[in-house]
Amino acid sequence: MPIQVLLVEDSPGDVRLTREAFRDINAAVQLHVVSDGVEAMAFLRHEGAYPNAPRPDLTLLDLNLPKMDGREVLACIKADDTLKTIPTVVLTTSDAEADVAKSYRLQANCYLTKPPKYEDFAALLKSVNDFWLTRVMLPQPRASA
């Protein structure tokens, strides 16, 4: 059973690292990548280029994105009755307390700061996989609204 993970990330380097990490760690993960907040919402709403996008089992959301930033995406997701049950994990370079506080206020399921070193970043993704994709009971996918 494939696990659908949506990665909302504008840095091509981080996208690549994430793809490689999941490829090594969990072959069941199908990673979908969008590189700005507008694309993220289109994917989630099955609009524009994404009429058949699968509903993510988990979303990894960067904060600093072009067009619509991750804070806005998070607010939109959590204000939407259909989307708000998708576990949304903020994964960002920002370590600012204000960003952490705001994300939890907006009901991010959790907040992770990307470590600068590759090995540590890969280890963090492994722990995301181990916790969220093997231990956590994720909500069952719902029929598209």
């Binding site: 952490v100 206020r105 399921n109 959790c110 907040y111 992770l112 181990d130 969220w132 009971m137 909500p139």
Partner: protein, 152 residues
């Protein structure tokens, strides 16, 4: 009265759990995994809310860094506690992890609708239970960024 400016590096975890056996297992798991954890236990939903609101016996209760919440409890169940936490502007930023025997799709769906941060089903086997609590420690208390102690 709290001492002002005392640097407190302990991590406060609130366990809302009515089964004494599960309380003990959880205490032991945290004791082995993380000496910084101070585990506070409430054995029903009413006590949990009193703890969180600093009422009754819990006037000086610390704000939890993480809450582990059982669902099926006397007086007020975990679903109601979750709903109250997430409806409260001050409390809703406390990461709240459901930790229950229930594996029902209905309970899982409901808890995510109520904005539980995540949902875990307790394994029956002791070793597996211990392992699960340790994974909570490893992810939430060592990897995740938690909101600052001070309520805004």
């Amino acid at each position: 009265m709290k001492t002002i400016d005392e640097k407190d590096t302990s991590i406060n975890v609130l366990l809302v759990e009515d089964s004494p056996g599960d309380v003990r297992l959880t205490q032991e798991a945290f004791r082995e995994a993380n000496l910084s954890v101070r585990l506070h236990v409430a054995s029903d939903g009413v006590e949990a809310m009193a703890f969180l609101r600093h009422q009754g016996d819990h006037v000086d209760a610390p704000r939890p860094d993480l809450a582990l919440l059982d669902l099926n409890m006397p007086k007020m169940d975990g679903r109601q506690v979750l709903a109250q936490i997430k409806a409260d502007d001050v409390l809703k930023t406390i990461p709240t992890v459901i930790l229950t025997t229930s594996a029902s799709d209905e309970d899982i769906a409901k808890c995510y609708q109520l904005q539980a941060n995540c949902y875990l089903t307790k394994p029956v086997q002791l070793d597996a239970f211990d392992n699960l609590v340790k994974s909570v420690n490893d992810f939430w208390l060592a990897k995740a960024r938690l909101p600052n102690r001070q309520a805004e």
